[in-house]
């Protein structure tokens, strides 16, 4: 297992470099930030000074070298917008996103496992159909619509929750997490249901029943672990998109996360911050993918032996 993780990590180094390089190049394709940050009146000399100060006048190779040199020291430069260190800004915003993503996936996964298994246990029953319908609907609700409606119903209408912000402890989490979780919950429920339906008709389930195992035991001990792999793949993809920025939710609820930071730095052509944020999320995503692969291996001994990196 250790071997596997190490090899997997090594094989992620090059892609990470590619991501960093890609961000560098792509960001620069969006135009010169000078016009955004310099006053309209800026003289050519001022423009030149700005360009020089930010190193935009060096040859592209020099810039790339400086950039990667900085990356190794976790120095991404300073934000054009705020003047702060880009790395600081990214590191400050990231925990909020991770917490949000973590809570969301926890709830979505738990809900999906319970609802999905329950629906799969009696395929085509009324309960199954209702659960399936609801999960499909959940998967297609526009999130900002859900969020704003939620704010007006639960915060303003019922007064049960704060509208937004992070200052009300657990209550502050309810609406953002609900908004974020609704689609993953819907999608995962469908995946779990599908996987459970097949797992429940597998020969080992019949063997378990022949030992006198009851329904709960059959589902929880036998089918679930076998059904976990496809659910894990999808859950991974969903988590990735959460880590990559829950822009809408962070924007609406004033949640100071990396998604909002990224979008602000994109619209603000704030390359340094963008690069720091992308590196942070990319590393997290790579780690996440490795964790998922390890989970596969933990779930199923056969994977341990055949896994290629």
């Amino acid at each position: 297992m250790f071997h596997f993780v190490r090899r997997r990590m090594l094989s992620s180094v090059l892609p990470l470099v590619a991501v960093l390089l890609g961000v560098f190049v792509l960001a620069r394709l969006t135009g010169d930030p000078a016009s955004l940050y310099l006053p309209e009146s800026a003289t050519p000399a001022q423009r030149a000074a700005f360009t020089e100060r930010n190193g935009f006048d060096d040859s592209i190779w020099q810039q790339i070298a400086d950039y990667f040199g900085g990356v190794f020291q976790l120095d991404f430069g300073e934000s054009l917008r705020t003047g702060e260190s880009a790395a600081t800004m990214a590191l400050r915003a990231f925990p909020a996103t991770l917490q949000l993503a973590g809570a969301t996936m926890l709830i979505a996964a738990a809900g999906a496992v319970v609802i999905g298994s329950w629906a799969a246990f009696r395929p085509n029953s009324l309960a199954d159909r209702i659960a399936s319908f609801l999960s499909m609907t959940a998967a297609s609700v526009p999130d900002f619509w859900f969020a704003i409606t939620g704010v007006w119903i639960f915060a303003v209408g019922l007064g049960a929750l704060p509208t937004s912000g992070v200052s009300d402890g657990m209550l502050s989490w309810v609406l953002p997490v609900a908004t974020l979780a609704i689609r993953p919950l819907g999608v995962l429920t469908q995946v779990v249901r599908g996987a459970m339906v097949s797992a429940l008709s597998a020969p080992y389930v019949r063997l378990a029943r022949s030992k006198g195992a009851g329904s709960v035991r059959v589902v929880s001990h036998h089918a679930l672990r076998n059904a976990a792999a496809p659910a894990l793949t999808v859950a991974g993809d969903l988590t990735v998109s959460l880590v990559n920025g829950a822009v809408v939710v962070e924007t609406i609820f004033g949640w100071p996360g990396i998604g909002k930071l990224m979008i602000d730095s994109i619209t603000g052509r704030d390359f340094a911050v963008l690069q720091a944020a992308v590196l942070l999320t990319a590393v997290t995503i790579f780690v996440l993918n490795i964790v998922i692969d390890v989970c596969y291996a933990l779930l199923d001994a056969r994977v341990r032996e055949t896994a290629t990196v």
Partner: protein, 339 residues
Amino acid sequence: MTHTADTADTAGTADPSGEPLLRVRDLTKTFPVRSGGRTRQLRALGGISFDLRRGETLGLVGESGCGKSTLARTLLMLERPDSGTVRFDGVDPFTLRGARLLQWRRRVQMVFQDPFASLNARMTAGDIVSEPWRTHKDLFPSAKERGARVRELLGLVGLRAGDEHRYPQEFSGGQRQRIGIARALALDLSVQAQVLNLLNDLQRQLGVSYVFISHDLSVVRHVADRVMVMYLGGIVEQGGTEAVFGRALHPYSAALMSAAPSLDEAGRGRQIILEGELPSPLSPPSGCRFRTRCWKATDECAAASPEPAPDPEDGGHTAACFHPMGKEAEPVPAGRGAR
């Protein structure tokens, strides 16, 4: 329990004397097995040599996991051997490319061991049987012809009209096996209707050669001209069917023959029940592979591995054993599970 019939068709007549159709020498195949971060070599085939003559049926028997399927898969180029040579009509099939490879593919077919897994569950029986023609498009250009041909082939193996529209899981295990046979025959242009009572019927007419792999010794005895007995990746005994079945030289062969159940009490001799499992191919025993389970084993067996030696009375019957079985039934030591 049968499994593989590698039907190698030569489209000629049986010619037991001439150059062998298939000549295999010193074939070895190991699989890398990863465990605990370490990669170990599993020796599935450890130096296999034999000839398959034209029009001959070669029976291949042996304990589960001894490498029979691996040998068949290697002959079919589904696995690449580590060393050793395969000559088919004097040509090494592993060097073939393009049209010549396709031509070769037409001539060698395999019926798979596992009738559950070797048929694609999403294809109907008809699709499965006609699948080879999708690669070899020249064979039956018209759809109508193909349909008729599929029905004919299915009929040959004892399925009925209308069955070509059914899916594998709607057939019983035996019927699935027959679909596999029909598929293997699909590329054989000259198979005619009403021929497949026994595989050797076909053989008689077409000179098809078979490598017939089976756990069912009575069937092997019935169809094979010659028999090879494998144990742990190596051939321990080979010879004419009657010679081997009549008087097994190698203790393993003897145990194998004795273990087969028999319908009539008279034919039922003392069963030698081997103790323990096949030793791990990851760490085969030194010297003779069988010595760990052999009641005749001596120090000599651990020291050196026996070479195939011919039976003094029958040159075509060889066994790799230092202590071959004698002519008379030998007493099997108690505690060895004899019944």
